[in-house]
Amino acid sequence: MDWQAFALTMELATLVTIVLTVAGLPVAYWITYSRWRWKFLAEAVVALPIVLPPTVLGFYVLLALGPRSPLGRAWQILTGHTLAFTFTALAIGSVLYSLPFAVQPFAASFAAVDARLLAASATLGASRPRTFFRIVMPLSVSGLVTGMALSFAHTLGEFGVVLMVGGNIPGVTRTVSIDIYDKVQALDYAGANATALVLLAICFVVLSLVYATNRKVWTAWPWK
């Protein structure tokens, strides 16, 4: 078992989840409450990674991060090395790839909060931020948990984007899914199976936790 790949994958998934929570909340807030007439275009862009083949997304991310793009050049000037095929590049690609899996549950749960409650909050003198943190957020807990868990689980399992943007550098960009692919290529079916089972188990546990938190009537223990 390649524990280094596991550690790297967990690190990546955790980082992506944190970034998506921090960045996804304002995006979801804007998508929910903006009355901009071209908002649907922004919504379509956010949803793109769901339908786009990961190789397509990965390809363009690679171009954008490469030494010929302004971003890649700026990075090279600032840090002294190229951006492509690094852990940072991998994280950027993963954030874009998992964006809809965070933003859509966030936005859906914001939209499900009764507009009357927001109106009531305003008539009681609360500012928009206060209304958001005291009313919208607490009533959107299930959507927040879902979005965070999906971001995490989706990053665990990604393959195409990783391969395009990160390559396959042990300890830097080799994630579990790449590791499984390598083992299969090397006809190490037993090794691939062991790794795949662990990944399967982790994803199952994460999703179970999501559905458990989202149960409408929550007793202390499911078997009670």
Binding site: A119, A120, T123, L124, G125, A126, I135
Partner: protein, 384 residues
């Protein structure tokens, strides 16, 4: 249709509320226009301290009017002010944000925060105060609305009447300069309702702010109102004390709201200036009734409203009556509604008459029976 100028003229005579300060500076004044797909809202009125009932059929624009006042929706043009404080003024480009208006609003569905306890709901609007002041104010209002024992429960865990009290307390504890109540007592039984109304009256007596109270319940109008404004299709069609508005309806909407089961189109046939009466023929019939005199000439079209409970019913032709209208007819149908018997009578026009159960039994009424309707002149209410 009354003109806005007329409405304004009648205001200075308005009696001040019995208790509380009658500071004219905190009077609510509204002139606004807002267009919709179906109709336009166009109102111009002002509300003094005390409870003003906003009355009208659903879809008349009552809730929209409240939302404009609270800043939840913006009028197309106009001006809304509480005393000197301008909430909205299209000509000056002022549109104060809802959270800065200090307008208490109790929504029709209450909009209590489901994840907060009753106490947290009540304290929600007091965030700017020091913790001990906040607790003290919250405590006082919980006591005065008799919900202190519910403080730790969430809205889901308390009854409908208790929820209504929490919603009222939450809005009132912030010391608003205006209170908007959108059918806050709908769906409550009469006893709970009248208890809450008593608490509200008491609170208002002590604080004295303008209160706009939306309802379409007649009981609430007479229990609460010092003043009624009737809204129909976005326009004010009548205003005054509940007694004035309800007993002398000139508009058909008011008439229906005030409980006229029978409304007929009629034509004036003759006026009797010396006797203060006139004779009207009901539309599409030979039925003539004597009604009070209004400024009209023969040929004038108007409406006549008659309460079903004001009509007497006789099975043999009565004699020696002071009532001026005796109309023969035939009983069409009888049906029972709660403890009231509803009789439909055909006498050229169809008239609804309400009887007691005992009257029905002692008269041995049955459909097809020949009967006479007896109607006093002043039971015929004329409408424009």
């Amino acid at each position: 249709m009354q003109t806005p100028a007329k409405i304004k003229d009648s205001e200075p005579d308005e009696p001040a509320p019995k208790t509380g300060s009658s500071d004219p500076r905190s009077r609510l004044s509204i002139q606004l226009r807002k267009r919709f797909a179906e109709f336009g809202l166009q109102t111009d009125f002002s509300a003094p301290l005390g409870i003003t009932i906003l009355f009208g059929p659903s879809g008349a624009g009552k809730t929209t009017l409240l939302e404009c006042i609270a800043g939840l929706t913006a009028p197309d043009e106009g001006r809304i002010a509480i005393g000197q404080k301008i909430l909205f003024d299209s000509s000056a480009g002022i549109n104060l944000a809802t959270q800065l208006r200090r307008v208490g609003y109790v929504f029709q569905d209450l909009a209590l925060f489901p994840h907060l306890s009753a106490e947290q709901n009540v304290q929600y609007g007091l965030a700017s105060l020091a913790a001990d002041v906040r607790r003290q104010k919250c405590e006082a209002i919980l006591e005065s609305f008799r919900i202190a024992h519910l403080r730790a429960r969430t809205p889901r865990e308390i009854s409908g009447g208790e929820r209504q009290r929490v919603a009222l307390a939450r809005a009132l504890v912030t010391d608003p300069c205006l209170l908007l109540l959108d059918e806050p007592l709908s769906g409550l039984d009469a006893v709970t309702k009248s208890k809450i109304i008593d608490d509200l009256r008491e609170w208002n007596g002590a604080h004295g702010i303008p209160v706009l109270y939306v309802t379409h319940s007649r009981e609430e109008v007479s229990a609460l109102g010092e003043r009624v404004v009737v809204l129909e299709a976005g326009h004010i069609i009548a205003q005054g004390t509940p007694h004035e508005v309800m007993t002398a309806p000139r508009q058909e909407t008011v008439a229906q709201l005030a409980g006229f089961e029978n409304i007929f189109d009629a034509t004036v046939i003759a006026t009797h200036e010396d006797r203060g009466t006139m004779t009207c023929r009901l539309a599409n019939s030979e039925v003539e009734v004597e009604t009070p005199l209004v400024r009209a000439v023969p040929g004038t079209q108007l409406g006549v409203g008659i309460r079903a409970g004001d009509v007497l019913l006789a099975t043999i032709e009565p004699q020696g009556l002071s009532a001026r209208n005796l109309i023969p007819g035939r009983l069409l149908s009888l049906s029972q509604r709660d403890v009231v018997v509803v009789a439909k009578v055909d006498c050229g026009v169809e008239v609804e008459v309400h009887l007691t159960l005992a009257a029905r039994d002692s008269l041995a009424l049955s459909p097809g029976k020949k009967i006479w309707l007896v109607l006093k002149t002043h039971s015929c209410h004329l409408m424009a």
